[in-house]
Structure formats: C-alpha cells, structure tokens
Amino acid sequence: MNTVVAPETSLARVRSQVLDAAGIADHDLERALGALMRGTVDNADLYFQVSRQESWTLEDGIVKEGAHSIEQGVGVRAMAGEKTGFAYSDELLVPALLQASAAASAIVRQGQQGRVQAWEPRAGHRLYAPIDPLPTLTDDDKVALLQRIDSEVRALDPRVKQVVASLAAAHEVVLVCASDGAMAADVRPLVRFNISVIVEQGDKREQGYAGGGGRFGYEYFTPAQVLEYGREAVRQAVVNLDAVPAPSGEMVVVLGPGWPGVLLHEAIGHGLEGDFNRKGTSAFTGRIGERVASDLCTVVDDGTLPNRRGSLNVDDEGTPTRNTVLIENGILRGYLQDKMNARLMGTESTGNGRRQSFAHTPMPRMTNTYMLAGPHHPDEIIASVKKGVYARNFGGGQVDITSGKFVFSATEAYRIENGKLGAPIRDATLVGDGPTVLNRVSMVGNDLALDTGIGVCGKEGQSVPVGVGQPTLRIDGLTIGGTGGGDE
C-alpha cells in the first residue's frame, strides 16, 4: 500500500489509460485547444475523466443491492475576460472533442486561431496511492463486512430495531491539459462507510448515524474501525431517546471538536471563495487585513493532508493544492482561488479550482477547512459556562454568502447548567452571522480534530467531497431555535 508512483509515471499511465484508449493523440489535443483559443480568449482547458463507482447496501440484515456505475467524458472550456464558454461530451472520441471545442469557443467572436503553450507536466503531491479501491477487497468480503456489523450493532443494544449500512468506493482518473501549458493527471481513490440505526423505547423512536472514509483502499475499514462507527450510531440514537425540547433565543454555545467545524465551512469558508469576492457579492468582500475573528482564531484550508477526503494531489485545473491561511489570529488573510478568478483579481490560483465532473465548470471550492488548536482544555471550556448549550454533533449547514447569515443543525446537544452537562436536547438549528460570529469566540480548545471523512459540499448544483475540523470552541452568543422557550 505504500507503493506511491512518481507523478510522471502516473501521468504517463493516465494518458495511456484515458487518451490512447480513445484514440486521442497529442495533435488532437492541440487542435482542440487551438480551436478554443480564438480571438480574445485568455485561457482554455480540456478535462478528461474516467470513473468507476460501486456501492453495497445492507438492510434487514441482508445485502439488498449492489450497484456499479461508469462515468466518463471530456469537458471543454474557453475563458475570455469574465466570459466562459463551456461544452462537454460523454463520448471520448476525437470528433466529439472537436465539436465540443467549437461550441465552447462560440462565447467569443471568431478570430485568429490562438497559440497554445508547449505542455509541461505539472507534478502534484503524493497524498494517496494511485490505486483503484474497488478490487481492494473481494466482493465476498464486502458482503461479510456489512453482515458482521449488522449483527454486532444489534448485539450492542436490544433497542436497535433497524440497521442500514453501506459500503462505497470510487476510482476517479482525471487528466487536465490547458492552453497555459499545464498538463497534470490524478488518480483519486475514495472509500466510504455509512451506518444508520433506529432505536425504539416504548413509543419513542430515534435515529443515529455515523460513518467515515477517505482516499484509501477498503483495507481502511478494519473490523475495529467499522465497529466504532456502529457504536457511535447507537450511542447517538440512544442519547436522543431522553432528549428534551431545546431552548430558543440567544445564548452561550460550546461546539465540540471535529465535524462541528461545519460552522467554519459555512460561516467563513464559502464567503472567502474567490468568485463571490471578485463579483463583490460576499459579506467578506474587500475585508482582507481586517479583524473578522477573535485573536484566538486561525483558520486554514488545507488540500494537502494525506489520505483525507477533501485532499487532492492537483485540483481540477491541474494546480497543486496548498495549505492556505484564511484567518490568522483573527485577521482575514486570504481567499480561495481558481485560475479564472485569480487572473481577474490579479493573484494566483490557490489550487482550489474544483468541479463535480467533466460535465460541470470549475469554481473555487474548499478542500479541508479547519481551525488550529488553542490553549484551553475542553473540560475547562464547559466548566466556564453558567448557562448554555453544548453541541457535540451536527447534521448539515447552509449559508447566504451575501448577507453572511448561516445556519447549522445540531443532532446531538446538551444543556449546560453551572459548568456541567445537563439533559440532552432535541434537534435544534443554530443561526448566526458569518462576519461577526468568530469575534465572539472566547475560548479555543487544545483538542483539534478533523471529521471522520463524511463531508459533501454543494454549491450551484455541484457536489464535491470536503473535510472540516476544529477544536472545542466557546461562542458567547448564538441564536438557537428550539421549542422549549426562552430562558428567563
């Protein structure tokens, strides 16, 4: 598993797998890019993708369904100033490639055919092995893994009435060549395990959920790892059996480590994406150098963490990913850029140009977004709160980039009374204002954790895998939306 192939070897292998197989030669790429580089076009690129995915789902103690999918094609893009022409084809054939190029270049008036720079292979990182994860476990063993966790979870607690577990893997091979000379390939394995349980006690019913994964083969899911997910799903469901209505109104909120970092993703991350800031539609527009958080807060977007779900060796424009500082000791430092927005803002790409597939255009997107650890022990943080809420786990979140208002939904939370955890509270949404919420961070834990590898980020209809993380945080005022009334 440690056989990491050199990037050049990887590029050669991908070229043969994607292009040779389709009968596409170098001169065809040059012709396609040449057709795109007409008139005032600044930049053009071709994005080839071949991917295979599978999923196995268990319900009622049996594997009910296995599914397999093939997705492949080429996306073709021409950019002139702020204009983008885009077309794609799910046929990897020379005529389809040239037809797509002609369609995409219609964004500019016809002009002289442009010049394409000679390609130089761009070396990316080696953050994960360039493997196909699908055959890293036999199909018999995949089925056995699901059946074993089903019986283990049911044995954990007699109140477990339903278990749905799934195992999935994707093998994505991408090749980018651009008119600026960038040529890069990436082989991206991704595996994922999910489990959800329903527990019943009397007439009460609750759901619990857990899962994880990353850019590995299936061997990542050891029996112990899978059982840990199972225990976590049962624990969450059982906690909520005793939940009381959440309070409503503004109060002190302590957020747990790890996945609650979805706060940063919503409140900060999206608002710092280059496209919104170039257009001036983000609540963070023009605020570089200003204080947007308390000085305890340093937030980064890091696409270079080995094997993480949100990591990439190169982004979908062929730029190596980076560790970008977004907020340093409370001061806003940087935006997340793709090539087009970087060019228009007079800066360089931060390796955040991502796309869902060949059939979608790249945009600035997050990779793994997290806050660095601070000085406080998590127990000390909870003990500091006289009356408030401790939110340990979350569902999803959402943000309005322009107004800066964001929400996220707690799925496991507790009252804090006089520095001690009290009763669990029912699902509640928390709402806040992105540009001001981090100014209210008064304590930051020394327990930085990243999520287990479950994040999916949606933007303008495109989904990409991401990671989040944070240490325990104390926020001195966030509005919580329960039915249990305001505190006197």
């Binding site: 093939i70 885009f86 939306g481």
Partner: protein, 449 residues
C-alpha cells in the same frame, strides 16, 4: 435550430430503444430471470448574463443507461454514461455479478404485470423552444436589466439565466413493457444584490415551464427579483416569541414536501417517519385536501408511467385532513403488504386545495405574526417530525407587513404544524411537484435575540 434538435431526439428514441432491447436480451442470455433498463438522452444549453455582459454559455448533452437484473429474487444494478456496446455489456455483466452477491428477498423484482401502463397518455410535455444562444442572451439581458433598474439600491448581480433542454426517456423490462416519451423544460431566472447602510441582501425570482410560451416575460421576472431583494434590506432580529407563521406559496411547497418524505414507502418500512401507521387517520387540519394528479397537461411533475412502468393515476391523498394513501413503488409496497401506487421515483403533481383566501386575506387572518421569505438549513428530523430551521422574513402587525426580520429560527413539530393549518391561499405556485398556495400555521416558536 429546433428542427435539428427535434430530429436528434427522434433519432435518439430509436437508438435508445435499441440499447434497451440489447440490455434485456443480454441479461436474459446471462441467466437473469428478470431485467429492466432505463435510458435517457438530453440536450440543451444555458446562458448567464451578469451586469449586462454575457458571462457563460454552457452546452449540455447527457446520456445514460441504468440497468437492474434479478437472479430469482436477488438484485444487482449498474449504470453507465458510456453507451458503446462494450461498456453496455460490461455493465450488464457487472449487474449480474453483483446480483449473485445479493441475498434472496421475495419482495424484490419487477412491478407486477397487471400494474404496468397499458397505454401512454399524451400529456403535452414536449415543446421544443426555437431559440439560439444569441436570442437567449437578449432575453437574459432584458431580464437582468429589469432587476438592476428596479431600484437604485440594487447595486450588484449574480446575473440572469435562460436555459432550455429537451430530453427523452425510454423504459423497458422483461415483462415486455416498452415506454418512451419526450419532455422539454425551459427556464428564466434572475438573482441580484441590494445594498443599504453597508449591509447586503440577495434574492431571486425564476420561472420554469414545459413550453416557452407559458413563461412570464423576462422583464416581469427581473422586476420581481429586484422587488424581492430590496424588500429584504434593513432586516432586524426579533425578540424570542411564539406567533402564527405564514409560509408564502413558494416556501409552502417545501412544507408539503416533508409530507412526501414521511409517506414514502422506504421511510415507512424503515420506520424512519413521523407518520408510521398514520393511514386513515387525521394528520392535517380538516380543511386540508390534497390530490395527486399525474396527468395534468404541461405540468412539471406529470408522467404517464413511473420508474417501473407502473401506470400513474389520479387519486385523493389527503381527504379533509385524513391520510388516504402512501407513495409506494413495488418493492416497499410488497414489504408493507400493499400495492404499488405508481410512485417509484416520487410524487406526480400534488395539488393542495385552496381554502379560498387570497394572500392578503391570510395576512388579515394572521393579524400579528411572521411571513417567511426564506428558510435555511436541513433541521428536520424525519423520525420524530421535530422541525427547526433558520429563517428570514417580515413581521406583521394588524394584518399588514411592517418590517423585514433576519437571523431568526422557527421551530415546531411537523405533526402539530400540519394539524395547525389555518388556511391555504389561492396564490398557487406551479413551479414544482407540489402545487399549493400560501399556508398559514397557527403558531410556531420563533428564536431571536
């Protein structure tokens, strides 16, 4: 332009039929006892104009094939966007291989023969739009201009878009069923930004229709986007309180959407629904009646048959508050000891009957409370019905809108919310699978400062 695309769709129909037949033949050769295939092909384009300049022109051409096979009652599935014979063969073989690992499940299989559609009604879903990108850019420019010019406080824009698409779907199964129909979807949308006192707000308006002639004018859509955006400026937080809440039609569609998830076969069978065992019981206030009308001409969620070839038909889903049926495909219908309702793939036009009041009437009835502009987040627990979401909107006193409010939450339980419906407006929003007017709820918990 239109003749060319229409022709390619027609050619597509014949080609897709052949691919479906190939799949079914191959599956049989490989020993499958049952098989089905769904093939689709679509083309179209979209343009976006921002600050009066073209921003993107994007061409779309999609194709795909999904295959399910059964070996006895063991099921395997595969899908591919590569429709070359070798990729199709690989996919069928893969589906058969996966089925070998599945467990025997007597409920698993094709829909029962007697439920399959025997005729395919013409639902007027295909109206190609004879428009080229240059003309679409002109429409988008007009639309955005109406928004930018609506008010001086409209200072920025995410742009206006015009898109058109045509698609064709072919479904076939080893019971001998073959069904196919073309569809079209056209849309115009606009999103702008307004600023005042250093704060920005954004909102949008859109229209979508099967036929371009049924779209409102681009200028109307743009002006409405401008009006909605400016109205949100100057929002303040509310004091935490309990009050009636009015969901305007576009937001009310989502409220009824929670009913659809709760009465779908999978959720009921897994008991991950707050409406388990609710059939025949009152789940709404008695003034609420909801029909499913799959054959409404030109409607966005109309379909002659569902994803398994089962005939769709009109029915009453909620009668004077009492739940009269579920949304079932064959598998979960068998699991629940019931019959498919033709809902494999979802609901087909849920029509919520109005109680006769206009939006202004509902405001008067509410007297004092909250009108929702926008909801955020996914804070709905499907198992318990607990509901808690971020919101922005308008505060109402004496039946009149007073001022915008923002950064608040609304919370309740869907069971109580459904039973507490006070009125359903005549202002029906037809832009999705749920067709409803504005809905007034008796009361919810509002979280603010």
């Amino acid at each position: 332009m239109s003749t060319r695309t229409a022709l390619s769709l027609q050619n597509g129909a014949a080609t897709l039929q052949d691919k479906v037949n190939d799949v079914l033949r191959l599956a049989q050769q490989l020993g499958a006892s049952q098989a089905e295939a769904n093939a689709n092909f679509g083309t179209g384009f979209s343009v976006n104009v921002r600050l009066r300049e073209v921003e993107t022109l994007s061409h779309q051409r999609d194709q795909g094939l999904s295959i399910t096979v059964w070996l006895g009652h063991r099921k395997g599935s595969a899908s591919t966007s590569d429709l070359r014979p070798e990729a199709i063969e690989e996919s069928v073989r893969k589906a058969c291989a996966l089925a070998r690992y599945g467990a025997e499940d007597p409920a698993s299989g094709l829909a029962d023969v007697d439920r399959l559609a025997k005729s395919i009604p013409e639902l007027s879903l295909y109206h190609p739009w004879a428009i080229d990108p240059a003309a679409a850019i002109d429409l988008a420019t007009t639309c955005e201009a109406a928004a930018l010019d609506f008010d001086p406080r409209v200072t920025n824009s995410e742009g206006a878009s015009v898109s058109t698409s045509e698609s064709l779907r072919v479904y076939g199964n080893s019971h001998g069923f073959r069904g196919s129909y073309p569809e079209s979807d056209h849309s115009i949308s606009c999103s702008v930004v307004a600023a005042e006192d250093g704060a920005m707000e954004t909102d949008y308006e859109y229209a979508v229709a099967r036929a371009a002639a049924d779209l409102p004018s681009p200028a109307e859509i743009g002006a409405e986007a401008g009006r909605r955006t400016v109205a949100r400026l100057g929002g303040t937080k509310l004091e935490t309180c309990t009050a009636p809440v009015l969901f305007p039609a576009r937001v009310a569609r989502g409220l009824i959407g929670h009913l659809l998830s709760a009465i779908s076969g999978g959720a009921l069978y897994r008991k991950s629904s707050f409406l388990v065992d609710a059939l025949g019981k009152p789940v709404f206030a008695s003034r609420v009646t909801i029909d499913e009308q799959p054959h409404l001409l030109k409607a966005l969620a109309s379909a002659p048959f569902d994803n398994e070839g089962v005939a769709t038909s009109e029915r009453r889903l909620v009668d004077a508050g009492v739940l009269g049926g579920y949304l079932l495909g064959s598998y979960y219908a068998r699991k629940l000891g019931m019959q498919s309702t033709g809902n494999s793939g979802g609901a087909h036009n849920l029509v919520v009957h109005s109680t006769g009041e206009t939006f202004a009437d509902l405001l008067k009835t509410m007297h004092r409370g909250l009108v929702i502009a926008d909801l955020m987040g996914s804070g709905v627990n499907p198992v318990t019905g607990d509901y808690s979401r971020g919101a922005s909107g308008f505060w109402v006193e004496n039946g009149q809108i007073q001022h915008p409010v923002t950064e608040i939450t609304i919370a309740g339980n869907l069971k109580d919310m459904f039973l507490g419906i006070q009125g359903i407006g005549t202002d029906v929003d037809r832009r999705g699978a749920v067709l409803t007017g504005s809905i007034l709820l008796e009361q919810m918990a509002i979280g603010g400062s």
